[in-house]
Amino acid sequence: EEEEVEEEEVWHQLYPGHIPTSPLQKALLAAGSAVMALYDPYRHDMVAVLGETTGCLALPNLRDKMKHHPEGYRILQERPRIRLSTLDMARLRGLPDGSLGREYVRFLEVNKVSPDTRMPPKFVDDEELAYVIQRYREVHDLMHTLLGMPTNMLGEVVVKWFEAVQTGLPMCVLGAAFGPVRLSARKLQVLATELVPWAIRSGLNASCVLNVYYEQRWEQPVESLREEIGIFPPP
């Protein structure tokens, strides 16, 4: 019994980990992952799947923004990855306080997170766009660092608002809109009155965060980078 038995047209695997899907499957995945992500917030893989299946408009947009920017273009060419194996943690730790590298490492340690837990894309049907969404995921922790937000629910929601404005990814918009559902009233108040307006203003004012070659700016002070991108100082 050979493998040429196929029920329907099948698509090539475009990159390692790629699972080709039909439009119907994508629609079902989008709906299912949205429900599951709300039901069980610990299912980060569902948030990832939601992003991939709904990003068909936002991702090409982001890619084009990158293409038309000199630094973004270089990132698309060189495809840097942020991983523990590629980062020189000792060197970053040795950088002066207030520098991007030092604060990033501090953020990772304080919140006990690692850049290696980002899911690789599976359902994006274009290999370059798969890199774009991967880059977005890996840069997420740097967003936390630049915005000065922790990884608790409140901090995540704030970052989501910022990312929603910046990227237009439906997953960010949904996360920003539904994330607050699980917050206490007091936190909601802080969120609504201070944090979200600031996140939105910064998101609108800032240039595209994916156009920054972070790996070449570890020494740059966080404040200077914030100014350069256009992120307002956190409240």
């Binding site: 019994e1 493998e3 040429e4 329907e8 079902l28 992952s33 599951m36 766009l129």
Partner: protein, 307 residues
Amino acid sequence: AAVRLCRGRALLSRVRGAPRLLRGLAAGPEMHFGFQSVTEEERREKIYQVFENVAKKYDVMNDSMTLGIHRVWKDILVHKMNPSPGTLLLDVAGGTGDIAFRFINYVRSVRERQLQRKLKHHQNLSWQEIFENYQEDKFSTLGDSQVVVCDINREMLKVGKQKAQHLGYSEGLSWVLGNAEELPFDDDKFDVYTIAFGIRNVTRIDLALQEAYRVLKPGGRFLCLEFSHVSNPLLSRLYDLYSFQVIPVLGEVIAGDWKSYQYLVESIRQFPPQEELKAMIEDAGFFKVDYENLNFGIVAIHSGFKL
């Protein structure tokens, strides 16, 4: 900007094709793993991994994929078996215990009715006779029925044992790690052999059938519950649509595992249809081999006797 998509013929196997040619003939006969082409050893490995991955979510996934109907199929299997107290059952690929628990429930209720009838007729027993009855343990709830659950996968057995503990099953139940192609039991031991949704994953079905024949007592019964082929064309198309479009998505959303469920639906298509399986069972030496379609052939129960 339009997203570029590549349409092509073969699945992932095309990507793997080149290295396999280089490996040459020494690798062994080509077999199927779903729609991929692999060696016998690779297939066993991959299937082991599939069940290792799905073990914890196995029951939840079964309920989701079949909308709970798998419970009815398993009930029908045990009703068809109609075990009487004292039956010794071997449930192969029994993993999480669904058949075993149903078997125990069934013999318990049969036993209860037996005892009730007995009590009605024995209303006037003397105290001596009652005492003797207790000595002989004639009121045992299972009546010496026993089920041995055999599975090749440690994770599945683990889940099964936990379930048994949780649900309160302990008497008359044992768990054995073993391979359906080479069972760790003596000849002529069991009254009934069942394999529910397991034979599809066996690499050498003929060997499993031979082993089933060997370990059954003369007069023993072979029962196989398995996905089969739908002949009705319209239903077949709907079934395919559901299988290929919905089930892997369910796998991804519920279990975080697309690939295992893609394998599941592909392996169903690769499995021999009703008549072919019947012939294989006859080849192993069974008599009075027959099958019953459930839900238009989505599932079939094959039965045979060792005479």
